[in-house]
Symmetry: C2
Subunit: 207 residues, 2 copies
């Protein structure tokens, strides 16, 4: 066990080391870096994370992170409310928004079913999703979850849960990445890309 | 430029991304992780770094980080005050202390001479070192700086700066790591290890 020359340093290292992917050595490097910065800079860091945790709001409609009761996407009158894209967390919302290719709205589950990590359907915003679908406005739900076992499990759970609703259930396409060579693509992905082939004419129309 | 669904989140990501080695993607992952933690946990993180930056003291003797005016090493009556080991920063103090092989005291420079990073001798605690040596108590100064160009430059600067004092100036041994094979050691290190060879009898006495 490492001994630190200062309790204050040790405490800060302990807290920094709780961040994901940060070990004690990196935490120490961070702490020593902070000691060289202005007090105002360090206060900005400390207060910004507390303020964020304390004041952030989740959109009552889609559970996206928000500064208001409804997020910027849900209040935007130009978004298509008949299509809901279901994602794991807000990083996925940000990634899809960055493509500029999607004009519907979202539903953030806040995770995916993962028994190993103690996350079951009840830990996710699934009831909030079915509640949204009750009004009949939504015509299509796009499942945009990770292509992992957990993602597939969650997809299947939602497929059964949503079977009673009159809507189209789709998943985002799995296929080879744009720019990738076929010989370097794993066989599962390549197989999917053949099974789920797309009419060439529709690809021609895409930018 | 990434757009964030919340200003509070964006602010926290901006601050976390200023930590060394943390890019914006990792900062976002950290921020989302913090949102899932208890408010008390996040407050512990935020306040611990501010408190550390605000209240930490540097030992007036050796410039080591401390909770008091003099650090635990400098106040320890069992430490040999005639030997001073000069190091770059407190991580080096911790590393040498962990070996359990050193019983002298330290002097923390707070960096090394690096014109590329705008760090000259005046940015380092070199005057504090010469002031310590004035009393004549110190008989040996060990230079334990990194084996880089910057480390060598600082060594040479200190060599000239300390030439007027009546003391032995040594550097820590450069050689092949314990457990390393000769064929995998770079030739500069291997060359040094031959030039600075150690009497076998003295090695026999070491644990």
């Amino acid at each position: 066990m490492q001994t630190y020359p200062s309790k204050l340093l040790e405490l800060a290292v302990n807290e920094l080391a709780k961040l994901p992917g940060i070990g004690r050595k990196t935490a120490l490097r961070m702490a020593l870096h902070l000691l060289k910065r202005n007090l105002a800079d360090v206060e900005a860091l400390g207060t910004s994370v507390i303020k964020m945790r304390n004041e952030i709001i989740y959109c009552t409609e889609c559970r996206n992170i928000s500064d208001q009761e409804l997020c910027a996407i849900c209040v935007n009158p130009k978004r298509d409310r008949t299509v809901v894209c279901v994602v794991e967390d807000i990083r996925d919302v940000m990634a899809i928004e960055n493509t500029g290719q999607y004009n519907g709205v979202y539903h953030v589950l806040g995770g995916i079913i993962s028994p190993m990590n103690g996350i079951g359907p009840n830990e996710l915003h699934i009831d909030a999703l079915t509640a949204r679908l009750g009004s009949g406005v939504v015509k299509e739900v796009i499942l945009a979850l990770p292509t992992t076992i957990e993602g597939d499990t969650t997809n299947f759970y939602l497929f059964r849960k949503l079977s009673g609703f009159n809507l189209t259930l789709t998943t985002i396409a799995r296929g080879i990445s744009v720019g990738d060579e076929l010989e370097h693509t794993d066989e599962v992905t390549l197989g999917r890309s053949i099974l789920n082939r797309t009419p060439y004419e529709s690809v021609l129309k895409q930018k």
